[in-house]
Amino acid sequence: MPVAKSPDGAELYTRHCSACHAGGEGHPGTMRLARRPGPLPAVLVERANLTPAYVAAVIRNGLMMMPPFRPTELNSREIDAVAAYVAAAAQ
């Protein structure tokens, strides 16, 4: 029986998240987070306070202007991989 390949969180982040959350101008998610009060960085992968559970919940449920991602776009294993990547990126 073939073993399912583990999802690559970094690759999935690039594919699904970076168009909105990369650094620099022209990225709506980064623009939004830059206007939140507090010292946290606007670029998602530079934030050290994110937990995998929180990131996973945001992906599936959406937050602020960000709509949710459906199971057909990112299944639960893929979400876990992205969430782990994002949460660990700034550690």
Binding site: G26, H27, M65, P67, P68, P71, T72, E73
Partner: protein
């Protein structure tokens, strides 16, 4: 999960069990834990929790679609097909009626063919602009696609909804060639030349012989499109995007008069845009940067913002494509025409470096998908949007009249006018993006009242909408009522003939099962 009103809970559960046998249990999404809430209309002007399907089912191929259809026919369960489900502003992956079953085609994401020699692609419903772009880039093909502004949108879904882009192939449906459709009874139809066994030119010639039916499956509920052929643009030898700013609101009259001959004679080859001040500014700044109060932004703040950002009340974007010498010649004519509008100021790419608004427009006009336009949702705190999109003739008189109607209604209801005109060959899509705070019920009520007023006033003035959100499909369809509703009776008769059980997307574009009889 609640069963649709028209079936019993027992039948609904039995149907879902039968569908799970077809697609696999993982791909029948029945509750919040499985992600069902992600199918709601996140940008609904109503309570988001009141939107969304009773369940979702996600087939992988045509055979599985046929299996799901068989179960739906048996239990008379309405299916609402979505492709990438990312057309937020028009309803996303939610069905017209809460309680229907979303048929999620995102898993059908194969790029069947990209033909560089003849410049076309054949894709399934789940392929996004990002996917197709990546495929082309990875293979080094000299082809450009034409993305809608949000790159996560679907190539097939946007075309089927008759959406638009910004390259010379911007009128997406005009670039369609070849279609595969599954009817409600499970019949698979390859349209036009595709119905010739072993067809060799089905993605090169649109029509074949006899009635051309492809258009019947766009913005409709007569079948499920499972493959589409779309022409791509050969990479040109040169590309020059440009921008022209104009200082005053009523300049839209003179701008449009200058655009028409340039467009008709193809000196403007692409789907060019005349972008309003706030649409242009909101890629870089927010409303709170210039105005803290409620109601429409005052003129003084608007002028300050325009001066800071070196933009106009209107900002025209277009591009040249071709050999350098040809572009040099055309540029003289373009400058002569558009430069005749008082206050016109021209900018090239070199002159707008580090400007994210110019940058994303320049990308879109050469077929590079991106998400920058979503920055507009930052205009207000927790932004969402719904779009009102009437068609205008390419005349100064028409553009100015529409602009005045829509701006004045926006302001009367407390909203900013955030709009653009996208010029096709002989028309303009006037896109009014109504940005509202999705966390504020009063703001949502106000946007609904504004939308109703926009429909009334635009219809009174003789302007029809080209596309609309789920909640307004009946209202917009109702404005197409010439000849005692002859058009609606025609589509209704087709619906009854092709989907007698009424299981496909009831209410899509105002077409309901049994509507011909009523």
């Amino acid at each position: 999960m609640n069963a649709p009103d028209i079936v019993t809970a027992a039948d609904f559960n039995a149907a879902l069990e039968a569908m799970a046998e077809v697609v696999g249990r993982e791909w029948v999404i029945r509750d919040s834990d499985a992600g069902l809430d992600s199918y709601r209309d996140a940008y609904s002007t109503r309570e988001v929790a009141e939107t969304g399907p009773a369940a979702a089912v996600a087939p992988l191929d045509v055979k599985q679609i046929q299996g799901v259809l068989a179960v739906a026919r048996q239990y008379r369960i309405p299916l609402w097909p979505v492709s990438t489900g990312r057309n937020f502003g028009y309803g996303g992956a939610a069905p017209r009626q809460p309680g229907a079953l979303t048929l999620d085609l995102k898993r059908m994401n194969r790029i069947i063919e990209v033909n560089e020699r003849h410049a076309y692609a054949v894709v399934e419903p789940g392929v996004s602009y990002f996917d197709l772009y990546r495929y082309i880039q990875e293979r080094g093909l000299k082809l450009w696609l034409d993305p809608a502004a949000p790159g996560w949108g679907g190539v097939l879904g946007n075309l089927a909804d008759r959406g638009a882009g910004y390259t010379p192939y911007g009128e997406h449906f005009m670039a369609q060639c070849g279609m595969q459709v599954v009817l409600a009874d499970g019949t698979v139809v390859d349209t036009a030349l595709g119905s010739v066994p072993g067809a060799r030119a089905q993605h090169l010639y649109r029509y074949g012989q006899g009635p051309w039916v492809d258009g019947l499956f766009t913005q409709s509920n007569l079948g499920i499109i499972t493959q589409i052929g779309i022409w791509l643009m050969p990479e040109p030898p040169g590309y020059r995007p440009y921008m022209v700013t104009f200082p005053e609101e009523d300049d839209i009259h003179a701008i449009t008069e200058a655009i028409r001959p340039l467009k008709l004679n193809m000196l403007i080859p692409n789907a060019a845009t005349t972008v309003g001040l706030i649409w242009e500014a909101a890629v870089k700044v927010t409303r709170a940067d210039y105005h803290e109060g409620t109601g429409p932004m005052p003129d003084s703040a608007r002028r300050r913002m325009a001066a800071d950002l070196k933009i106009g009340n209107w900002n025209f974007y277009a591009a040249q494509y071709g050999p350098e010498r040809m572009m040099d010649n055309d540029w003289k004519v373009i400058q002569e025409h558009l430069g005749a509008v008082p206050g016109a100021r021209f900018y090239t790419a070199d002159e707008r470096q580090h400007d994210p608004a110019f940058d994303y427009r320049a990308k879109l006009m050469r077929g590079i998908p991106n998400m920058t336009e979503y920055s507009l949702l930052n205009w207000v705190g927790t932004g969402a949007h719904i779009d009102f999109s009437p068609i205008s003739p390419v005349t100064g008189e028409g553009a100015l009249a529409q602009f005045h109607i829509m701006r004045d209604l926006c302001h009367a209801h407390g909203f900013d006018y955030i709009g653009e005109f996208l010029v096709g060959w002989r028309d303009m899509h006037h896109i009014l993006m109504l940005v509202f705070d999705r966390t504020d019920p009063d703001n949502k009520r106000a946007v609904r009242a504004l939308f109703d007023a926009l429909i009334d006033e635009a219809t009174r003035a003789g302007y029809g909408e080209y596309r609309t959100h789920l909640d307004y499909m009946d209202a917009i369809a109702g404005t197409y009522d010439w000849g005692h509703g002859a058009l609606a009776r025609t589509t209704g008769a087709l619906k009854n003939a092709l989907d007698p059980d009424g299981i496909l997307a009831p209410g899509k574009s105002g077409i309901w099962p049994g509507s011909a009889a009523s």
